[in-house]
Amino acid sequence: MKELIVVKNLKKTFTLSKKQQKIEKQNIKVRTAVDGLSFTAYSGEIFGLLGPNGAGKTTTLRMLATLIKPDEGDAFIDGASIVSQQNEVRSKIGFLTSELKLEEFFTPNYLYDFFSSLHGIAPEVARARKKEMFELFGIDKFAEVKVADLSTGMKQKASLCISLVHNPDVIIFDEPTNGLDVITAKIVTDFLLDLKAQGKTVIVSTHIFSLIEKICDRVGIIIDGKMCVCDTLHTVCGGKTLEDKFFEIYSEHCGGDE
């Protein structure tokens, strides 16, 4: 299998403002969000990043999506560096997170065309793909409705379609089913499996064990910005449930404090 995502020793720190220090009741000025993270994801697999809130999952994905730069280390998306070849990386990935919103003034139809144009996709190709995606997610009936007037689930589905206008080989989803009703969540997870079947590489971050167990081939458990375990789901679990294994690893990492 081809190595599509190679992450090497990524490190990211954030400087805390006085306000943040006060909120978090900490005196430290710099917080390490990701601390020397390395892993690899292969073509045709779904890789799950699991960890508690604040573990560094979202920061890792934001670095892979080139929204923020790492302090140290690098990652390569299909050979393109997230540090030095950002535009190339952006053309190879589809990134979806709750942080990314659609302009509520426009319709899904307009936004799809707009982002297709930014990705340099030929109009006829974009038109055919839009039809296919909108039908798949049931957006076709709402294509001319302003995003502001769509339901939360429909907005999420529209975001999903628009993040994949360029049919990328690498798809990065941060909490893909967060805030979705069970039906929409099922459509999204089925779609992720479909992408895998198409030979694409999907990275998802979540703290939902059942989602990882259902769709992921390999899993990495991140705690305090460090990769504690990274292997196939079968190897990581070792006969236990993922939830039991996660808490075992978490207790070991925190020195039995939990």
Partner: protein, 390 residues
């Protein structure tokens, strides 16, 4: 993707965002229309309030009118109304039925002629009762005062000033217009340039940051500098439309504001003056668009951006007010000071002293500063600390 295509795609999206939004378009175009309507109404109101029909004859009553003054208080100037008593006439003045009541003391004419001014000896006094809340009463009062002042002046007349029908004010219509326009326009135009930018820039940049839609743009494979340029381009067009709308509104309504006086007609200026003005307004607007965009980029929300931009608006208005001091012979380096150079050029244009070198220098300076601003803005778009500040 070609850079120009990427910039144009962003430009089209921004234009669609604002042009399809009735609220934004209203906030851009409405100021010009409102200025025209409000200034015109104000002008009409002031004209009605302070000017009466030239043919109007005030209705007055005169008590004890000396024979020598009968011709001054004639039916040609006033409608004379007889009165039963002074108190009854006062009541008529109070309810605006009578415009004025003039009461001469007994033996007024002889007492006046023989009067010698001294602290112990009071001068003969004429009582004029009038009502300030009535426009016609004010006219009557002014007319009666003019007659009596004339009489008083003629008694001790040693010399006159401008006492003939000749035209003494040598100011031409053009110079009157230039005086008024050059006093008022610099501040108004500079203010409208800023207001036009304030209506769109915070929404376009800080608004996208606030709503989280900017990140969706930032992960597309186009340069962030192209995103910034596309936005600046669209904001410039929209701000120029807004600035032009307001400028046209002011220039069109100023004659009406001045009470329909022909000399304040903007038509005294030629096409070249308006062309120079357009260059200055456009370059100044571009400068402000860049400045307001940079400030908006620093802000986390539209509200925060608006509060950051307010001092810029106040400062610009203060610089605009310096235009009221006129344009003295300025050193050439003055035209290298952004905004102040625009104010000086606007004063020069409205004073019929437009100087092509000053206009070019000002426009080039403003565009150069804009260029530096755009560079700073593109750097800011690349800064995660600025774009994702929480």
């Amino acid at each position: 993707m070609k850079r120009s295509r990427a910039i144009f795609t962003i430009f089209k999206k921004e234009m669609a965002r604002f042009c399809k939004d009735r609220r934004t378009m209203t906030s851009l175009i409405l100021p010009g229309i409102l200025i025209y309507v409000i200034y015109s109404l104000m002008g009409n109101f002031m004209t009605d309030a302070f000017m009466t029909d030239e043919d109007y004859k005030p209705v007055i009553s005169v008590v004890n009118c000396p024979d020598q003054m009968q011709s001054a208080f004639s039916e040609e100037i006033f409608v004379l109304q007889k009165t039963e008593s002074i108190d009854a006439a006062k009541e008529l003045v109070a309810d605006s039925t009578l415009d004025a009541l003039v009461v001469f003391p007994d033996n007024f004419w002889n007492d006046m002629l023989t009067y010698t001014p001294s602290p112990d000896n009071a001068a003969p006094n004429v009582d004029i009762y009038y009502n300030t809340t009535s426009e016609t009463s004010s006219v009557a009062y002014t007319s009666v005062m003019a007659i009596l002042d004339g009489l008083e002046a003629s008694i001790s007349n040693k010399f006159d000033i401008n006492n003939s029908s000749k035209t003494y004010d040598m100011a031409s219509d053009e110079s009157m217009a230039s005086f008024m326009f050059s006093m008022i326009m610099p501040m108004l135009l500079i203010m409208f340039c800023v207001v036009g930018c304030m209506a769109v820039a915070p929404e376009s940049i800080a608004g996208e940051k606030e709503r989280g839609t900017i990140a969706t743009l930032l992960i597309t494979p186009i340069k962030r500098s192209d995103i910034a340029l596309g936005k600046i381009l669209a904001l410039s067009v929209l701000s120029i439309i807004s600035g032009a709308s307001s400028a046209i509104g002011v220039i069109a309504s100023l004659p009406k504001l001045m009470g329909g006086m022909a000399e304040f007609d903007g038509s005294v200026y030629g096409a070249s003056d308006y062309a120079f003005l357009a260059v200055i307004i456009m370059s100044t607007t571009l400068l402000f668009v860049t400045l307001v965009s940079i400030i908006s980029c620093l802000a986390k929300s539209v509200k925060e951006a608006a509060s950051y931009v307010s001092p810029v608006m106040i400062l610009s208005m203060v610089i605009g007010i310096t235009g009221m001091l006129g344009s003295s012979s300025q050193a050439i380096w003055v035209y290298l000071i952004p905004v102040y150079n625009s104010v000086q050029c606007i004063v020069e244009i409205f004073s019929f002293e437009a100087n092509a070198l000053h206009i070019i220098l000002t426009a080039v300076t403003n565009i150069a500063v804009m260029g530096v601003g755009v560079f700073v803005l593109t750097r800011m778009f690349n800064s995660e600390k600025i774009m994702f500040k929480k």
